[in-house]
Amino acid sequence: MATETEKSNKMTWILLAIPVSAVLLPTCLLLLVLMLPTMVAFIVDGTPGRKFVITVGMMNLAGTVPAVVDLWGHGQTFQASFEGMSNVFAWAGALMASGVGWLIYWVMPPIIANYQGIASRAQVLSLRAKQKKLIAAWGDEVAAVVAEPYRQGDEPAEEAPEPES
């Protein structure tokens, strides 16, 4: 449930967007059409924070830049806008950029999973080394507090440094 403040903020944005849309209407029409992949992503994205929409949308937006620049080069007329909509290169740029966004989104999980796995193992080794240092400084009894006591030599990660006196 949106709060009163959030509703007020949205209303402010809509009120600001209306004059801007009116002034930049050809650009807005062109963007509306070329950002179609983002709209599809918006429809299918159920993740919190809509990270899929952001990923695809950012790339989709980057892909529309040549068409928008071309439109502005022709004076930002409706005709130029419609020409842009029917320009196959404009579509190709928008769709390909969106595709890169899609690709990033789908490739990222295995990369992250691998990275997290490696990071986790490194962290465990580091923690075990800390435990070994504690045992070296305080003796096996220090491990008696845990249910399955960790004993020196169980799984040595690396030689523990001498404790400071």
Partner: protein
């Protein structure tokens, strides 16, 4: 006269002697058996300042300890008729490495008058007795009286001829063993003769006058006048007919000598001759001969153990020798009736009646029966010593009996029962009058009572022993090869013990604790309480070290490296009680340093450092918490918290958005740059 002086001068010079007091040398390998004292061997000795002087040393035993206080007191006696101790101290015998107390005397020029107590010799004439024996003995007794010290070894086998033309005797030593312990019964007054040798006590000067009387009788007779009588029979005879009649009897004695003998052998110490009487007599004043004061005879005899007794004292003496039969005798009123009717002694009869009733109420085998018998024996003979089971000791001999017989079965227990039952007070109550000389002995008995009632280490009968026998050596089995009679000697003795190898046991027992509590001044009672309540073995060892460090502080010596090593070995495991390995290493190094310096206080500071212990405990608790926390983190990782699908998805989504945003921004920037240029 007997004895030999062959080899008297010894063969000094051939071997190196053992040095004593920087001035004397003792030669334990050169025995002089003709100068032996009972329980002590005599060996040659040398005064380095005066090598021509013939000396001998008596090597004393630890169990029958010498009278060290008397040595000090008598060393200043200037008398040619007395064997004066010239020096004393402790030597280490090379043969067995035992440390012994020795006393050095000048060798008498003559022989022993009697070679042994049972030997016979040529009787002395009256003139020889008066000029050669009594006159020098008067001088000696005056010297002793001036020091309020009883000799307690005046006997024929302890006097020497002076040699040469001088016929005066020389009185032998009296300091190498406990007072009166080796004195034959005939030389002892009735009460001391009834006592066990250990219970005779230091005695009084009147005992010496009695012994002088017996000595005169023996010398005039040429030996023991009653050799046919056993010790018990001698005492029984003295009780029955008196000492004079027993020892002199019908022997032909001149009136002058008889006068002295009757006075000296008087069985009542109050009536016995003293130095003034003897002086007057020696100067020719004639005093009326004392008549023997005998016990009242009963109209009819009382039968006990198959014998008939006519006097209460005789019966008391017999009952004291048959304790179990004495207990049976109290089960009926026959004894009380005999005393009331035949002796007409109402007071004694009432005391017996009271004791008999107490005995019956106590039942079979109860301590009450023993107490009742002791009470009855005292009531029958108030002059007799305190008797309780196998104990028979004069009031002044209780403490000495405790010391001499400490290792004998049940003696400390029985003496404890005597003082707990207040038999010494009962004995005082039946005396006709309270004498001033009783006061220190009553106080001594009270001290015994106060300590035997506290059984913990540092107290008990051991403490009573050392409190009441001021120069008695420590009887600890650990010090069996040493002679330690002063507090300052305790730690050096333990240091020597550890010199040839560190023992495995703790250098502490009840004797050492009690000895140090008595002989080392200003030791806090808290030290002994801690000894008695150890939390564990290590804590006990720390308590012992604490006590010893206090003793070192009070008496020195400053460095005790062997003792420190001993404690370091005992307390080595204490480093293991610290968790932090670094502390353990520091502690081990510190202990090593303290061991080398021999400072027990430093060692104690290391092993009993509360601050370090607290740091270790706090640090260990923190380390445990940290360890548990790390273990939790490891478990979190190992449970796949970072690699779970949800986590990976969440991270991936965020990463995708960021990568996409960065890539898009870069693309836009590049394109903008291209279009602009």
């Amino acid at each position: 006269m007997s004895g030999t002086s062959a080899g008297r001068a010894g063969k000094r010079g051939a071997e190196k002697g053992i040095e004593l007091s920087d001035r004397y040398e003792v030669y334990p390998d050169q025995p002089l058996p003709f100068l032996n004292s009972p329980g002590c061997d005599a060996v040659a000795a040398l005064d380095k300042r005066n090598p021509s002087l013939a000396l001998f040393a008596l090597i004393c035993s630890r169990e029958l300890a010498p009278r060290v206080d008397a040595v000090r007191s008598l060393s200043h006696v200037e008398s040619s008729a007395f064997l004066t101790p010239r020096a004393s101290g402790i030597i280490t015998q090379a043969s067995d490495q035992k440390r012994k107390f020795v006393i050095i005397f000048e060798q008498p020029r003559g022989e022993r008058v009697q070679s042994e107590p049972s030997a016979s010799f040529q009787p002395l004439s009256e003139d020889d007795l008066i000029r050669g024996v009594i006159t020098p003995m008067v001088t000696n007794l005056r010297e002793l009286g001036g020091r309020i010290l009883a000799h307690r070894a005046i006997r024929a086998d302890n006097i020497f001829t002076s040699g040469g033309s001088n016929q005066e005797i020389i009185l032998g030593e009296c300091v190498s063993s406990p007072a009166g312990y080796f004195q034959p019964v005939i030389y002892e007054p009735i009460d001391a003769g009834m006592s066990t040798p250990s219970g005779r006590g230091p005695g009084y000067i009147s005992d010496d006058f009695y012994a002088l009387g017996v000595l005169i009788a023996v010398l005039s007779h040429g030996g023991n006048p009653v050799p046919q009588l056993s010790d018990q029979e001698v005492v029984a005879s003295k009780i029955a007919v008196g000492s004079y009649a027993t020892l002199v009897g019908q022997a032909r004695v001149s009136l002058k000598l008889m006068e002295a003998l009757r006075g000296l052998l008087c069985d009542d110490p109050a009536e016995r001759w003293n130095i003034m009487d003897l002086d007057l007599w020696a100067n020719g004043r004639h005093l009326s001969p004392k008549q023997a004061t005998l016990s009242a005879k009963a109209a009819r005899a009382f039968e006990f153990d198959g014998e008939e007794y006519n006097t209460a004292r005789g019966l008391s003496f017999a009952m004291g020798h048959n304790w179990s039969l004495a207990q049976e005798t109290l089960r009926d009123d026959a004894l009380e009736g005999w005393v009331r009717r035949s002796l007409s002694d109402e007071k004694c009869a009432s005391a017996i009646l009271k004791a008999s009733r107490m005995s019956r109420m106590g039942g079979e085998g109860g301590g009450g029966q023993d107490k009742a018998v002791a009470g009855v024996l005292t009531a029958l003979d108030h002059l007799a010593p305190i008797r309780y089971k196998s104990i028979s000791a004069r009031l002044d001999g209780l403490a000495q009996a405790l010391a001499i017989d400490f290792d004998k079965d049940h003696v400390p227990q029985m003496i404890s029962e005597v003082v707990r039952s207040k038999l010494h007070k009962s004995w005082i109550e039946v005396q006709p009058s309270m004498k001033p000389e009783y006061v220190p002995w009553i106080r001594q008995a009270d001290i015994i009572e106060s300590f035997v009632n506290r059984s913990r280490i540092g107290f008990g009968p051991e403490r009573a022993l050392y409190e009441c026998n001021s120069s008695w050596p420590c009887l600890s089995p650990l010090l069996k090869n040493d002679f330690v009679n002063e507090g300052a000697e305790l730690l050096p003795a333990l240091e020597r013990l550890a010199q040839d190898g560190i023992p495995d046991y703790v250098p502490m027992d009840r004797h050492i604790a009690a000895f140090s509590a008595t002989r080392v001044k200003n030791l806090s009672e808290r030290l002994f309480i801690q000894l008695a309540e150890p939390a564990d073995k290590l804590q006990y060892n720390v308590s012992v070290l604490r006590l010893f460090s206090e003793i070192q502080r009070a008496t020195g010596p400053e460095a005790l490296p062997n003792t420190a090593r001993w404690f370091a070995k005992l307390l080595g495991p204490i480093t293991e009680t610290y968790h932090f390995r670094s502390f353990r290493q520091q502690l081990s190094k510190g202990i090593e340093g303290a061991t080398q310096s021999g400072d027990l206080a430093e060692l104690l500071w290391l092993v009993d450092n509360e601050n370090l212990r607290q740091q270790d405990e706090v640090g260990f608790a923190q380390a445990q918490n940290e360890f548990a926390s790390i273990a939790g983190q490891i478990t979190w990782h190992e449970d796949g918290a970072l690699t779970s699908d949800a986590h990976v998805a969440a991270i991936s989504q965020r990463a995708s958005a960021v990568v996409s945003a960065v890539l898009a921004s870069v693309s836009i920037a590049v394109m903008s740059f291209i279009y602009v240029t």
